[in-house]
Symmetry: C2
Subunit: 117 residues, 2 copies
Amino acid sequence: MVNYQERLDRTFAALTDPTRRAILARLEHSDSASISELAEPFEIKLPAVMKHLDVLESAGLINRKKSGRTVTVRLRAQPMREAMAWLHRYERFWSTSLDRLTVLAESAEKATRRTER
Amino acid sequence: MVNYQERLDRTFAALTDPTRRAILARLEHSDSASISELAEPFEIKLPAVMKHLDVLESAGLINRKKSGRTVTVRLRAQPMREAMAWLHRYERFWSTSLDRLTVLAESAEKATRRTER
């Protein structure tokens, strides 16, 4: 069984490539697509697309199902939930930076008003 | 200048390693730390830790500052904000799955109540 850290490794590794992110974004809009539909917007050849799909599938981010001669690819977003939860703990840092910026902007505004009087 | 896609590439790549994630998690607690403090919990040697810090710094996730003989490492969480925003769009998929589960659980409960009458 793949543990939490290994799942995060695979999810983040799957997301390091812009083509793989574009494939996931495409599936986000249409829920499922055939391999030729997925390959269409890219300039890379079909075997390269297939390799990206292998990485996405081994990270658990897509499912492939064959029916007749068509392979349907479907999004499995669940592993991204864990990745997002991992990132979530850093949220307070950017919230804090935003708070600091707000305080700075407000005190600058007050100072301007004082000099204007 | 590094564009949006390249920034995402680097951020996700920096996050693919459990040691690098542990370094970031350590900095999340203490805001800043010396290199020896950061290296302490790991079984790997100092040069290996330094390599991980290089990756984190080139992804913009940490700052290193030298004062005398001590190098202080500080967290820069901002790039993770973009990564989280990217993941955020898939949230509706797991929310939908949760909604479906809630509906299933509720109808199962209703069915149980009906048979109990």
